[in-house]
């Protein structure tokens, strides 16, 4: 059938309050009907069993688990424990288990529950340390709250990643905030350019001209300062928006960027199963976004909780390129050949030639931590494996548009 999934994503569609820029499948827990969260936890665990029964892996063999949202830590502690303990029973010692948390909902009790079941990594939604900016984005935390939560998590022995939002002016500057976080034990950073998603309060404010955004050139200058700081601290930009020292990358996210099979459970979560019976084709399942409908679907009251979409080989190839070229590792030629019968240089001679000045030898896969599908001995990649350099990553869309045009001119198969 499909290549068995080795990564599991679990979506918790609740948060304390909706942020001004957010268009995720998430709603304030306080507004949810009583009992909904508890029922959803049970339904989601049940749904994992269904998906695993259908697609694998056998005997709980997930390498990575990621519990995201929303804000998983907003769940009342007994419910939070029920979710994590339920997951622990279904997953046998993954090599990376991440839980997303926001500073205001991270406390000793939550940390103890996570410790108890084997969570190894916390992804902390910091976004900024400028209190005025946080208020502006309707974030409930402050720099002081963040500092306290971070200290607790580091003290409890978790590997902590922090999210920052770029593109908005802030008191300490982006590099200043990053230095502050690294000084307090953060070992992985995700820095996202603000995306004004349609329909969010923030995009409405921007449309009215009420939002001060950094210009393209100012944003670049901010990022240059950030990157020189991070390089000095031993970090590298290993993906468009992610920075870590080698071997501290997020293995779970690497599974997406490698386009390995993965499962997603919970409202709005997505699964992708690659390498199906049709050579090169994939299958994508998108779970219903509305929590109440999802509950009814999981209990069998209404039909299938997920929309299933076959991904034709042509689209699957492009997805593998779109994801693979996001990283300094580039697409994995061995996996690419196994899946599509060819390698990117065979498929895209023209685009790769046109972008040759922005392509560099692909970095070695993080290999020190064993037992995840991408693990390889830390030896150099094959000579023709390439990834985009920093400027190339910044212009990824343009590169991909060239690839897309070239793919369209070819016959559907690799030949």
């Amino acid at each position: 059938m499909f290549a068995p999934p080795r990564s599991l994503y679990v979506h918790v569609p609740f948060c304390r309050s909706k942020c001004a820029y957010c268009d995720f499948a998430s709603a304030p827990l306080a507004e949810a009907p009583e009992g909904l969260a508890a029922a959803l936890v049970d339904a989601t665990l049940h749904r994992i069993d269904e998906l695993v029964a259908r697609f694998g892996p056998a005997s709980g063999g997930f390498s990575t688990v990621y519990v995201g949202g929303g804000t998983p830590t907003v769940l009342p502690r007994p419910l939070f424990a029920r979710l994590l303990e339920g997951l622990a029973r279904r997953v046998v010692s993954p090599c990376e288990w991440t839980v997303e948390a926001n500073p205001e909902s991270l406390d000793r009790e939550a940390l103890a529950i996570m410790r108890g079941v084997g969570v190894s990594r916390i992804s902390l939604g910091v976004q900024s340390l400028d209190d005025a900016l946080l208020r502006d984005l309707s974030r409930p935390a402050s720099a002081a709250v963040t500092e306290a939560a971070l200290a607790l998590a580091v003290e409890a022995g978790f590997s902590v990643s922090a999210d920052l939002i770029a593109g908005l002016p802030r008191a300490g500057g982006l590099a200043g905030e990053a230095a502050w976080l690294l000084d307090r034990g953060v070992c992985h950073l995700s820095v996202y350019d603000l995306i004004l998603e349609e329909g969010t309060p923030l995009s409405a404010r921007a449309a009215r001209g009420e939002l001060a955004l950094l210009s393209e050139d100012e944003a670049l200058a901010e990022r240059m300062r950030l990157e020189s700081l991070l390089i000095a601290r031993g970090f590298r930009r290993y993906e468009v928006s992610n920075y870590a020292p080698p071997e501290a990358e997020s293995l779970h996210n690497l599974a997406y960027w490698r386009m390995d099979s993965y499962l997603g459970a919970g409202p709005g979560a997505v699964s992708t199963l690659v390498q199906g019976e049709v050579p090169g084709a994939s299958l994508r399942l998108e779970e219903m976004r509305d929590p109440e409908s999802y509950l009814r679907a999981c209990s069998g009251e209404i039909a299938n909780p997920a929309t299933e979409t076959p991904i034709a080989p042509r689209d699957a190839v492009f997805e593998a390129l779109m994801m693979g070229y996001r990283t300094v590792f580039g697409p994995d030629h061995a996996a690419f050949r196994a899946r599509f019968g060819c390698t990117p240089p065979e498929l895209l001679p023209r685009s790769l030639a046109a972008w040759s000045s922005r392509l560099v030898p692909a970095a070695s896969w993080p290999g020190a931590r064993a037992s995840w599908p991408g693990a390889r001995p830390p030896v150099p990649r094959s000579a023709d494996e390439r990834a985009l350099d920093g400027r190339g990553l910044d212009l990824l869309n343009r590169f991909l548009l060239d690839c897309l045009a070239e793919l369209e001119e070819r016959s559907p198969s690799c030949g």
Partner: protein
């Protein structure tokens, strides 16, 4: 055939937007030509663009049967006239097909430039004029003031003005009676030799060319051999009929009647508006007066966005030409854009209409080059040439003298804007010929100025300078000496022929600066820095730079985002098809438009 005593031929003349088409709709409705339930707004304007923009481009006609208070039934032939300056010749022909005119004035706007010029045109043709005050239902309607303007500015009797709301149908019955009572019946006789005036024609895909005409003397019947007196061509009449929204066949058309003929004519360009139809065997002694060949005054090249669509563009133009005799074109080619067509238009609106029809009705993605007038150049060799295409510019050393077409521009404006409008027209190289106070608040300004100046930034500035109050009309009056230069535009150090312009030399710096600025605003950032330069010969006179794009990447892309992000990129790729590669640079369609149009946001 109808007794001429029971025929009334009339047209409605008005400034643009004064509600002519709406009133025509009410006429048709009242006359029960069509059931009101089936009524489509602006019945007479059957082209999409006309309906959408609310303007009439091609004139049409309709015959209404009306039972008057005297108990007799009259045939009222409404000849619809185009409402824009570009088509003033067509207006004049439609007017001369009538004995009377309804002079429509918007009660919220009052008398404007075309109200005056159209009235003069109607007076020249001895038409009985009935002033009609329209839009009386509007809160801003000022009937007393409009009456006063009719008396003082038009010199007509305000007592005779009728009050109408085309929208609600108020006053339409009274208007019908006035048409019967006040507009004279045709005076021509059936025994005279045939003289019929062609005032329009259109192409029907099933029946060929339908010629719209007004019979003066004589009559016209199927089987008759006819001659077009100015072109000399002869045809045999296959069918005659009247305009009843659809074409209604008749046994013939007698003196004074308005109708159509079908005579095996292949294309509308074989028929000239203003030509006289006569009997080939018993021709009239002379043609009806006023014929002239309409010549294009504005020129621009049209290229397909995708060079592979050349044949489709050609087909689209051919189809347009079937219905638009005034459109002329020939093959053209550009280094930057490949094969296309050099087209001639009656004016800027005509150009825009053709552009929109190509894009909408024929689904063509096109690029148009900056419009140009036609220059008359005396070469040092003694030869005289006409050029409208920058590609044909002979170079300064071969030019002995150059001339460009001038217009007489008529502007009517409230007093408050005179200063600013004078400044605008002086900037556009205009000379004030006269300034006539129409009353204590409004002034008519007559300027002579180069037509080329009207093509670039004029209309929008006229409107913004006068807060929309000034109205404008013009006619071409002839050639005057000029200093001509060719402005080249270089993108990434390479001249782009499709962006070159013929300009008045002393204005070249200003024009180059503006063009570069606008291009900078319209061309998206690319992977490298792009200089944009304006040059006369080898001398660079303006420069802008487009900085390279800093970042073009989706910040977040995880397991749940893949489908959406893939589709986003696929959509962007489709958008790229509206980009033209010129050298290494991708130019969007808007870059070519930016050269043509005023866009305040792009200005410094």
């Amino acid at each position: 055939m109808r007794d001429p005593a029971f025929i009334r031929n009339f047209c409605i003349i008005a400034h643009i937007d004064h509600g002519k088409s709406t009133l025509a709709d009410r006429f048709i409705e009242k006359a029960r030509v069509v059931d009101s339930r089936k009524m489509q707004d602006q019945m007479l304007d059957n082209m999409d663009i006309e309906r959408e923009r609310g303007i009439t481009i091609k004139s049409q006609a309709v015959a209404l049967e009306y039972e008057a208070k005297d108990g007799k039934t009259y045939t009222l032939n409404l000849v619809d006239t185009p409402g824009h300056v570009d088509f003033s010749y067509e207006v004049s022909r439609a007017i001369s097909a009538c004995e009377g005119a309804l002079l429509l004035i918007d009660a919220t706007q009052g008398v404007e430039a075309q109200t005056l010029s159209n009235m003069y045109m109607a007076l020249e043709h001895d038409l009985e004029i009935i002033p009609v005050i329209n839009k009386i239902d509007m809160p801003a309607a000022d009937i007393a003031e409009t009456r006063r303007q009719i008396e003082h500015e038009l010199g007509l009797d305000p007592e005779g003005a009728l009050l109408v709301s085309g929208k609600l149908g108020t006053g339409v019955d009274e208007l019908f009676e006035a048409i019967v009572e006040r507009i004279p019946a045709p005076r021509h006789k059936a025994e005279d030799p045939l003289q019929a005036l062609i005032f329009d024609s259109h192409y029907d895909p099933y029946r060929g060319v339908i010629v719209h005409l007004r019979v003066f003397g004589g009559s016209i019947v199927p089987g008759q051999r006819i001659r077009l007196m100015n072109s000399g061509a002869e045809y045999e009449v296959e069918e005659t009929g009247k305009f009843r929204i659809t074409l209604a066949k008749t046994e013939g058309l007698g003196p004074g009647e308005v109708g159509y003929i079908i005579a095996g004519i292949k294309t509308v360009s074989d028929v000239r508006v203003g030509d006289t139809v006569t009997d080939a065997a018993r021709p009239a002694a002379s043609a009806l007066p006023g014929f002239k060949e309409v010549k294009p005054v504005v020129f621009s090249s049209i290229y397909p966005m995708d060079a592979a669509d050349y044949d489709e563009l050609k087909e689209g133009l051919e189809k347009l030409k079937l219905n638009d005799a005034s459109l002329v074109y020939e093959k053209d080619n550009s280094v930057a854009l490949g094969f296309g067509f050099r087209c001639g238009f009656l004016g800027l609106l005509h150009l825009e209409v053709v552009q929109e029809r190509l894009e909408r009705e024929y689904d063509q993605a096109i690029i148009m080059t900056a419009p140009s007038v036609r220059y008359r150049i005396k070469l040092t060799s003694g030869e005289t040439i006409f050029i409208d295409n920058p590609a044909d510019y002979p170079g300064p050393s071969r030019i002995e003298a150059a001339e460009e077409p001038y217009i007489k521009a008529q502007i009517i404006t409230p007093l408050a804007y005179i200063g600013n409008l004078n400044t605008l027209c002086f900037d556009k190289r205009g000379t004030l010929v006269s300034q006539n106070h129409l009353d204590e608040r409004r002034v008519e300004l007559i300027f002579e100025m180069p037509l080329a100046e009207v093509l670039f930034d004029f209309y929008d500035k006229l409107k913004s300078t006068s807060r929309g109050y000034a109205s404008f009309d013009y006619e071409v009056i002839g050639y005057r000496p000029t200093k001509l230069a060719k402005l080249d535009i270089l993108i990434n150090d390479k001249p782009v022929d499709a962006l070159a312009q013929l300009v008045y030399e002393p204005n070249a710096y200003e024009r180059a600066r503006k063009t570069c600025e606008r291009l900078q605003g319209a061309i998206p950032r690319q992977q490298f820095k792009i200089p944009i330069q304006g040059a006369i010969g080898s001398k660079i006179i303006a420069r802008e730079t487009i900085n390279p794009v800093r970042k073009d990447v989706l910040a977040k892309c995880y397991g749940g985002d893949i489908t959406r992000k893939r589709k986003l990129l696929e959509k962007q790729k489709e958008g790229k098809k509206r980009m033209k590669m010129v050298g290494d640079v991708e130019l969007p369609q808007e870059a070519f438009l930016a050269v043509l149009r005023e866009n305040e946001e792009n200005e410094r």
